[in-house]
Symmetry: C2
Subunit: 198 residues, 2 copies
């Protein structure tokens, strides 16, 4: 019953994750109210993302051959942090406390989803390991697939003679101890540290 392009816009918004019919309609009406300039902004951005590819070195997003991190000479090249997705790079960068390099796997090994080591960006990681690399920090999420991927990488990398570390698991800061799940508590206890180490 709405004009054709409007129905099409609702349908396009409905394909976004977690967006149902009502929300898609609300988004479409917002775009309708917007000045043409704002429509142009979204159109230009959508057209522009077609040119985005993966950095040939680390797999992060880039509109050139190499991403901003791989091109940045000021970053510490002795350390590579391995993450599953580009979003994880954004999360780490926001903390401002890591200045090394990244490697984006583009997924996790998963027996349930049938994702094997050759399906993710592991080969290029191995190519990057040379004597100049002192540490590989595995920063996959502490989920089943994340753990499996971490163990797999740890094995491969140790053979290369590089120091392999993982992000610590334990109680999240600011959380109540009695709200933590058992696995987190067990990890927090296993990984307890002397107070002077903190």
């Amino acid at each position: 019953m709405y004009p054709k392009h409007f129905e099409e816009l609702i349908a396009a918004f409905e394909k976004l994750p977690g967006v149902g019919g009502k929300t898609a309609q609300r988004y479409a009406f917002t775009m309708l109210d917007k000045e043409s300039e704002q429509i142009d902004e979204m159109v230009d951005a959508l057209k522009g993302i077609r040119k985005i590819r993966k950095c040939r070195t680390c797999g992060f997003l880039s509109d050139e051959d190499e991403c901003v991190f791989c091109k940045d000479a000021s970053r510490n090249r002795t350390s590579i942090m391995v993450v599953a997705y580009p979003q994880d790079v954004a999360a780490i960068e926001k903390t401002g406390s890591y200045k090394g390099m990244y490697h984006v796997l583009g997924g996790l090994i998963s027996s349930s989803k049938g994702i094997y080591p050759e399906d993710i960006n592991i080969e290029k990681l191995m190519d990057r390991i040379d004597p100049s690399v002192k540490e590989v920090i595995i920063a996959t999420s502490p989920t089943m697939d994340g753990e499996m991927t971490a163990l797999y990488l740890d094995k491969l990398l140790k053979d290369k003679g590089v120091l392999v570390t993982r992000l610590a698991h334990g109680l999240p800061m600011g959380a109540s101890l009695d709200y933590a799940d058992d696995l987190t508590l067990i990890k927090a206890l296993d990984n307890r540290r002397k107070i002077e180490d903190e």
Copy 2:
């Protein structure tokens, strides 16, 4: 840190109602994963909605001078339902139980927001009232602004000698009586009907 167009797409999504940074990023990554064809769909739809205007008769959305309802000769022209927004037309149409005409005000009279009768599509409604129109159904929401608008229209329309009705207020179907708010219960009691009328 993301490529320019990708950051721009996140920014564009963040302007949608109720969308924060995380959600906007999630939407942008979904678009990145989509085949170019789906990006084209959204681009075409966005470009297309620039051509959408208001129906010159009723104010509903249209890409021509008149909307689908005003052009449809099979609809009952003796009845006009007045709603606040185009979305309300969609909600009524979905029920399939109204076959008359519509009039979209494009807003509600609101003392708190400073919206006056001349700011909404009332003049054209008055122009439509001629002896062929037998009933005007006021279907504004039962909110303060909706009620105020309904009362205002009722006064104007009664002078024109047309039958003015309102959507009934009462208990929503399927709801528990003890969960209804007081105002709804009072309305439901005031508007009680003989059982044979149902």
